[in-house]
């Protein structure tokens, strides 16, 4: 059985063609194969093999001639020829003339599909994300400030192509054991997390880690995914992916308050899955993150431990404590020192703390307020840097609390404060400055901070924060100041959970692994300023907690 053709417009050098001929010749059942330019020499060879050259063959034509025992062998040989002629070399890397990929499209062309991790400034993220989807890649958009129409468009394209868009403003993910963005070194385990809240997911994962439970994956979907505008598009895709994942026994869906219709639709969708889905929608009247983690542990048959905490140096619970150092009116602190100031890097942690504190102490003013009339500017008020400076600016509808005495919590990770600068988990300067300013405000009695460890975060946050905390406390003199820290870290995080906790506690901070417990402790401290009585939940009292932070 024979095949011969002369291809116009195809050219390869004779060495290449001899290699192609040899490959075709090697196919079982092939008796003869000639792949060559139709020069006179090669036309002669072709005739010697018993083929007749196609009419009009010139030296600019590529001859493909195969003789085989049967049709299958012939087809196989022709396929070998075609693939050898069209084989494209891979991009060589290295060397003086190498060219790094300049777009996600170029990177995917060279290296194949994967998960595109996009952290370019928000107005440029769309182009890279489109590249990723066009190339068959899933996408994690770490960037914020991406318009919601672009988010919806990307998520619709992803759905058409069977891909997942995590984000925009997706700060955390764990996929195949690799932590992306702000993430933690945790073992693999049975719980899969779908999160519309980055720091919420980080708190959840770190608490599960403290309890010895790992995660199968953490799929962030972006803070707006469960809004009415986005409609839970990625949450649905992420639920489906985890439902199909054999190592996931329980899915936790974590979000700030969702649009009711979106939540209902996701609940209905979750009903259709074989893997149970636990909803953890953080907000007033809802269980906090710690409670959600405890529920997930119980649902997978695990014990709920005492959550780790570390007592402040010089505080009850610290073995070497010389004296109590909580704000107390009877020790001479001015009566106005009763305000709580929270300086958060994590939006959901800030939210959670505000829910707890406002439930106990009344309005908490914020740049991400629980109620519109509790809004304040995230920027420090003019003059606050001086100890005698005024408090926060007046808000038209403000409650009848003197400005200076208000409880205020600022989310330093909010778009307005991150435009043009690194996230506060990476660059702590804004918070360190603000810590000093708040400490200098005589109204401030307690300062809450979150410190987030893990991949992507500052390599040693305590190295900057601990001296700032110590200076803040010392700078207060007898007008005492308490600092309460939520330390979000896993046991294997690169910064060293215990080392960070110890350094912060040594500087005078009360340190908690549970943000909810930290917030309650702060409330207790403030409640005590009036009563002079110690509240419950003192850090460091739980032995199991200390062990939880050990390495």
């Amino acid at each position: 059985m024979r095949h011969v053709e002369a291809r116009a417009g195809a050219y390869a050098d004779s060495v290449t063609l001899m290699q192609v001929s040899a490959q075709a010749q090697a196919v079982p059942g092939v008796q003869a194969a000639l792949v060559a330019m139709a020069t006179e020499l090669n036309l002669g060879l072709l005739a010697d093999l018993g083929f007749t050259a196609p009419d009009g063959s010139t030296q600019n034509h590529l001859l493909v001639a195969v003789e085989a025992a049967d049709g299958d062998a012939l087809a196989a040989a022709r396929a070998v020829v075609d693939s050898a002629l069209t084989a494209r070399p891979a991009e060589q890397s290295g060397g003086p003339a190498s060219q790094p990929p300049r777009t996600t499209l170029s990177a995917a062309r060279r290296a194949g599909t994967g998960l595109a991790l996009i952290s370019v400034p928000g107005q440029y993220a769309f182009a890279e994300a489109v590249d990723a989807l066009d190339s068959g890649c899933d996408v994690m958009i770490f960037s914020d400030n991406v318009p919601v129409e672009q988010e919806v468009w990307l998520k619709d394209r992803a759905a058409e192509r069977g891909l997942l868009v995590m984000g925009p403003d997706c700060g955390t993910a764990i996929v195949s054991g690799v932590g992306l963005g702000f993430s933690h070194a945790v073992p693999s385990g049975p719980i899969g997390v779908v999160a519309a809240s980055g720091t919420g997911a980080q708190q959840m994962v770190c608490l599960l880690d403290a309890a010895g439970a790992g995660v199968s994956a953490v799929l962030g979907v972006g803070g707006r995914d469960l809004s009415a505008a986005v409609g839970g598009r990625s949450a649905r895709a992420a639920l489906a992916a985890l439902d199909e994942d054999p190592s996931t026994e329980l899915i936790v869906l974590l979000s700030k308050p969702a649009a009711p219709a979106v939540a209902d639709s996701l609940r209905a969708y979750a009903e259709s899955l074989t893997t149970p889905v636990q909803f953890a929608l953080i907000g007033p009247g809802q269980p906090d993150l710690t409670a959600a983690a405890e529920a997930a542990l119980r649902a997978t048959g695990r014990e709920v431990p005492q959550w780790p905490s570390w007592a402040a140096a010089g505080q009850p619970g610290d073995p070497g404590a010389p004296a109590a150092a909580v704000p107390r009116t009877e020790t001479g602190a001015p009566a106005e020192a009763r305000a709580l100031r929270g300086l958060f890097a994590g939006g959901t942690l800030c939210d959670e703390a505000m829910v707890i504190v406002s439930g106990r102490l009344g309005p908490v003013y914020s740049n991400i307020p629980l109620r519109p009339d509790w809004r304040v500017s995230p920027h420090p008020p003019a003059g606050q840097r001086t100890p005698a400076g005024p408090g926060f600016p007046a808000v038209p509808d403000a409650a009848a609390v003197p400005d200076a005495a208000r409880h205020v919590m600022i989310d330093f990770g909010d778009d307005e404060l991150t435009a043009g600068r690194p996230h506060p988990m990476i660059d702590q300067r804004l918070r360190v400055d603000r810590l000093a300013a708040e400490a200098a405000d005589p109204a401030t009695a307690v300062i809450m901070l979150d410190v987030v460890l893990g991949h992507g975060a500052h390599p040693d946050p305590a190295a900057e924060l601990a001296p700032a905390i110590a200076a803040a406390i010392v700078g207060r003199g007898d007008r005492e100041l308490a600092v309460v820290v939520s330390l979000i870290g896993a046991r294997s995080d690169p910064q060293g959970l215990t080392a960070q906790a110890t350094a912060l506690a040594a500087a005078g901070a009360s340190v908690f692994a549970s943000n909810a417990q930290a917030a309650r402790f702060a409330c207790d401290l403030l409640a005590r300023t009036g009563t002079g009585q110690a509240g419950p939940g003192r850090p460091g009292q739980a032995g199991a907690g200390q062990a939880g932070g050990g390495r």
Partner: protein, 468 residues
């Protein structure tokens, strides 16, 4: 459903280096994008154009048509009847230009052509276009033609006729005059006019007879081979020229023309390393014309310069030119000339780069980079850089030094705007004073501004229906 959880982790990271480092530190495979912001003011138009649901399909079609095109030299004819040019009607290179705005070499070429056509006795710029007998000026591109440098085509000149056998479409280009004092570089001395007369009287008819005897010459096949022989088909056409001569010489000999004419013609072609340029250009034109007028396509289908303006045309926007002042090439100068003598970029020959040859195939012709004192690595880097702004790799133009990888082909306006990488063009340099001729050769890029202009128009043409 996504296969995200079933795959080995491979992270493609664009943006914050720390995040890529972190993933790499966890033993994930990481491919880093060397990202930089796009051209200023383009982000909104980029978002609009990238969200155009027609874009991917339109560009795939444009690429497929460009790559599928083939070019045969089917005839050599007089330009007037073939291109519909009456007396006094002239074609020129680049986007439209008036006599008033024309540069020195463009005016020089038009004056020389007027004398050649017998419309004027003497080249005299001061006389103005009407005294020179110029009735109309029109871009070559508007008549299915391309012209190197000034690209002036007048009715009495002869032209190559190239045809795509698949659909019979044709493209035209004048015959190449050689280097130095030549009309296309704006020279118009007696030797220039005499050469043009010989080309019309002897060379054109002889080549016509030879081509007609020989039958169609496969120009695409020669292009394919010359790229593997050190030519990039714009500034270096040595192998291509000799292959053409190899194909046609027997038929020239048997044409019945006087032996002396045949010998003159053979010496002229063999002595002009750029003779094949005027076949490479219309071959590229045929390929790119096949990709025109596809709604939603962001592929560039022409880059051309008239010595004053640089213009591009884009598949998805049809005929409008997006223009900005042409840049002055950087390179080497002929003895006696220097940078101050060079005119801004001129000629339709950037059609070769538009099709994946010329500067885009520099890795195949490393000798070219010596024009700017570059190294072989510079040549490889130039071609590799162009892959960042192109939609495809040309399967016919394999570059030996890149393991026969196809040249980068099909410039995407969005990729140029995003990466700020400008197309690399290899070019000759004309003297800026009319009558000078060639002063050197070198490298140039389009002015960056033309790409945001094209992008704006593409964005304006995206259907109003909301995305999704």
């Amino acid at each position: 459903m996504t296969g995200l959880l079933r795959r080995e982790p491979h992270v493609i990271a664009a943006g914050i280096g720390l995040l890529a480092d972190s993933a790499a530190g966890q033993a994930a495979k990481v491919t880093r994008v060397d990202w930089a912001p796009p051209m200023p003011g383009t982000d909104a138009d980029l978002a609009t154009v990238l969200a155009d649901s027609r874009r991917a399909g339109a560009n795939a079609l444009a690429v497929q048509r460009m790559l599928a095109a083939r070019a045969l030299l089917v005839d050599v004819v007089q330009a007037g009847p073939a291109l519909g040019l009456a007396a006094g009607e002239f074609l020129h290179a680049g986007p439209p230009i008036s006599w008033e705005r024309a540069s020195g070499p463009m005016r020089g070429a038009l004056m020389g052509a007027a004398v050649f056509e017998g419309l004027a006795d003497h080249p005299d710029a001061a006389a103005g276009e009407s005294a020179l007998g110029i009735v109309s000026l029109e871009p070559c591109h508007h008549r299915g033609a391309v012209g190197p440098m000034a690209g002036v085509v007048s009715p009495s000149m002869w032209a190559f006729v190239l045809e795509d056998p698949a659909d019979g479409r044709r493209a035209f280009c004048s015959l190449n005059e050689g280097l130095g004092k030549v009309l296309r570089y704006g020279a118009y001395s007696a030797e220039v006019i005499d050469r043009l007369r010989w080309m019309s009287a002897v060379l054109g008819p002889l080549l016509q007879a030879a081509v007609r005897r020989h039958g169609p010459v496969d120009v695409t096949a020669i292009l394919t081979q010359m790229v593997q022989m050190g030519d990039e088909a714009h500034n270096r056409n040595r192998a291509g020229t000799l292959m053409l001569l190899r194909d046609l010489l027997p038929d020239m000999v048997e044409s019945g023309f006087p032996a002396a004419d045949i010998a003159d013609a053979a010496r002229f072609v063999a002595g002009n390393d750029h003779f094949f340029l005027n076949l490479a250009m219309p071959a590229c034109k045929l390929a790119l014309d096949a990709a025109r007028d596809i709604p939603g396509s962001t592929m560039v289908v022409a880059m051309a310069r008239n010595g004053t303006d640089f213009g591009i045309q884009v598949s998805g926007t049809g005929n409008p030119w997006f223009t900005a002042p042409a840049l002055v090439p950087q390179g080497l100068f002929l003895a006696g000339y220097g940078p101050a003598d060079a005119n801004p970029d001129i000629g339709d020959s950037a059609i070769t780069e538009t099709a994946g040859l010329g500067g885009f195939a520099m890795a195949a012709a490393p000798a070219i980079v010596r024009l700017v004192g570059g190294t072989v690595a510079t040549a490889l880097a130039a071609t590799r850089r162009m892959y960042e702004i192109t939609l495809a790799e040309h399967p016919l133009f394999g570059v030996p030094a890149l393991e026969f990888r196809g040249t980068p082909a099909g410039i995407d306006v969005t990729l140029v705007a995003r990466t700020q990488i400008l197309p690399q063009i290899n070019t000759g340099m004309a003297g800026k004073v009319a009558g000078t001729g060639q002063v050197g050769a070198g490298l140039v890029t389009p002015p960056a501004e033309v790409f945001p202009l094209a992008l704006r128009e593409l964005a304006g043409r995206v259907p109003a229906s909301p995305p999704g």
